[in-house]
């Protein structure tokens, strides 16, 4: 059987960008009228590391850091993933060579891009066939245990890019401020936020509930299926569905924040990986621009509404879902 294979996406982690707030998003590819989730069907993911230093980090340090980042994702107790370092290679990331390669490339022209991930996928099944992670060696990198001033933490960025490699898109669970012509992260609660923390910090090495829920949604194990639940429903405005609304579920017992997006014209959303118990829902628009970090720009993402809380507490069951939640938002220009 012949499969259509395509180079699909390039997701970048940037030092400064234009970005708003708040959730996990799975990568997908459109097949006719449905969206197929991108994922590895054959595990472990077998990867190579480019035998080249960059940004003050040796190839061996890169190999060890990448292994640590993979191990962090594999340690999620509610997901089944694995990887295997095959060896060093002279191949560069983004070569169409059938190999999954992670390595440095000197790209001073991409002066705000710390790293990016791209894939070759089977566009019928959504299977990831090959993935590439490039890390921009025009930046200064650190592999120090507690970080180094004026250097980006390599493990944090590798963790983010490997999240993409495993099938996660960007999460909007963060807040930014305008600075130096771009946006700086004020705070985030996910490693999959598209804008990186500043130099000198290792905050990005720790997975958050949103990241764990996202990966577990793609590669769920039995524990995830039995113990976690979901909330699904619609975001509507004037009776019509809202596409691209960002919904955050807040667990008042654990303080965990896990988000999702309304992903069709009916405004339907599903947030999975939630612990059982009462949750508060909050919805907000992706209204700071740079929507392409999350969605295909051909989609008509609706940002003309204000942040709002749902007026009902939603209780999540173990191993099941609470459905038919409807969150009504108001157009910005009709608010008092």
């Amino acid at each position: 059987m012949k499969h259509a294979v395509a180079f699909v996406v390039a997701l970048a982690c940037v030092a400064l960008a234009s970005q708003p707030a708040s959730a996990y998003l799975k990568l997908g590819t459109r097949v006719d009228t449905r969206t197929v989730t991108l994922q590895w069907e054959e595990l472990p993911v077998r990867y190579f590391v480019t035998d080249a230093a960059g940004g003050g980090v040796t190839a061996a340090q890169l190999r060890d850091t990448v292994a640590d980042a993979f191990a962090t994702w594999h340690a999620i107790s509610t997901a089944d993933t694995s990887s295997e370092f095959v060896g060093f290679t002279n191949a560069r990331p983004n070569d169409d060579d059938g190999l999954t390669v992670i390595g440095f490339e000197n790209r001073p022209d991409q002066d705000r891009t710390l790293g990016a991930t791209s894939f070759f996928v089977d566009t019928i099944s959504g299977e990831i066939l090959e993935a590439e992670i490039f890390l921009n060696s025009s930046f200064s990198w650190s592999v120090a245990a507690s970080g180094e001033a004026n250097r980006f933490d390599l493990e944090s960025i590798a963790l983010h890019e490997i999240g993409h490699l495993l099938g996660l898109g960007h999460s909007a669970l963060g807040e930014t401020e305008l600075r130096d012509g771009g946006r700086r992260v004020l705070a985030a609660e996910t490693v999959m936020f598209p804008v990186a923390y500043s130099t000198g910090t290792i905050q990005g090495r720790t997975l958050k509930a949103d990241d764990i829920a996202g990966l577990s949604d793609i590669y769920p194990n039995l524990d995830h299926r039995r113990q976690r639940g979901s909330i699904s429903g619609r975001v509507t405005k004037s009776g019509r569905g809202v596409l691209g609304a960002h919904i955050v579920a807040f667990n008042m017992r654990t303080g965990q924040l896990i988000g999702g997006f309304s992903l069709d014209d009916d405004g339907r959303f599903v947030i999975g990986g939630l612990e059982a118990g009462p949750h508060v829902l909050r919805v907000e628009p992706l209204d700071d621009g740079d929507i392409e970090s999350f969605f295909d720009l051909t989609l008509n993402i609706d940002t003309n509404f204000s942040a709002k809380f749902h007026d009902r507490i939603v209780v999540v069951p173990r191993g099941g879902g609470t459905n038919n939640v409807e969150i009504r938002v108001e157009p910005k220009n009709q608010e008092p």
Binding site: A21, V185, A187, T201, R253, L257, S306, I313, T322
Partner: protein, 238 residues
């Protein structure tokens, strides 16, 4: 062999009957003793049923906190804050009391109530309007208590009780059941109506107490919920 076995069984059966008879004799004997009014006595059974009120409880506040970027100099960043509370609730309770002596009794009970959980959501980082989100919880407590009565010959009997029970909190729509342990202490009065010499009589039971709940629905697994309770019930003594 079969015959012998049958004989043995018959003999054992006789011994069993004798033991049963001995056990029941004192009770039968008690029933024949007049103690100056129809006060409860050893072996008496009392049932009650009535209305229960549980006071509201504040629950721990929780902020939706994001991890700050150290370079910003911020000490923390809250996306919003939540202040939950469990409202006061009317409910029902029923008890079955068995007197061990004239003063001491053991009691089994069931309580049912439907408190409303409200969460005030405020201080949103993107100015989402403040709101109170809510849902209803159905609480069941199946408990056992040891009860001590004062002035058992009087028409009005003060009592104190303490015990523990099984807590079962069911969220609206039965999506989730959370269980735990309930401990309680209470004090009250039993007032008998009408002719005190009648062996079966009706009365009123009023009580107030404190219920401590460990587990079940809570936002802080390390913290016990404490709720003052009050109840008024009709009593019937067999």
């Amino acid at each position: 062999m079969n015959h012998a076995s049958g004989t043995n069984l018959t003999r054992f059966g006789c011994r069993g009957l004798a033991v049963v008879a001995v056990l029941w004799l004192p009770a039968a004997s008690d029933a024949q003793v007049w103690v100056g009014g129809s006060t409860p006595r050893r072996g008496s059974v009392e049932i009650s049923g009535g209305a229960l009120v549980t006071a509201g409880q504040s629950l721990p506040s929780q902020a939706a906190t994001l991890t700050v970027n150290p370079s910003t100099g911020l000490s923390s960043f809250d996306l919003f804050t939540s202040n939950p509370s469990l409202g006061p609730a009317l409910g029902a309770q029923g008890t079955v009391t068995v007197y061990i002596t004239r003063a001491f009794a053991v009691e089994g009970g069931m309580q049912f109530s439907r408190p409303r959980l409200d969460v005030e959501l405020s201080a949103d980082a993107e100015d989402a309007p403040d709101i109170t989100a809510s849902t209803t919880i159905t609480e069941y407590v199946f408990s056992g208590s040891l009860v001590y009565h004062f002035g058992t010959a009087a028409r009005t009997m003060p009592f104190v009780a303490a015990g523990a029970g099984h807590l079962r909190d069911v969220h609206t729509g039965n999506e989730l059941v959370e269980t735990g342990t309930e401990y309680h202490g209470k004090a009250g009065l039993k007032m008998w109506f009408a002719d005190p010499r009648r062996p079966r009589r009706l009365g009123l039971r009023m009580e107030a107490g404190l219920s401590v709940r460990n587990g079940g629905f809570n936002f802080d697994d390390d913290e016990r919920r404490m709720a003052p309770t009050g109840a008024v019930s009709l009593l019937y003594l067999f």
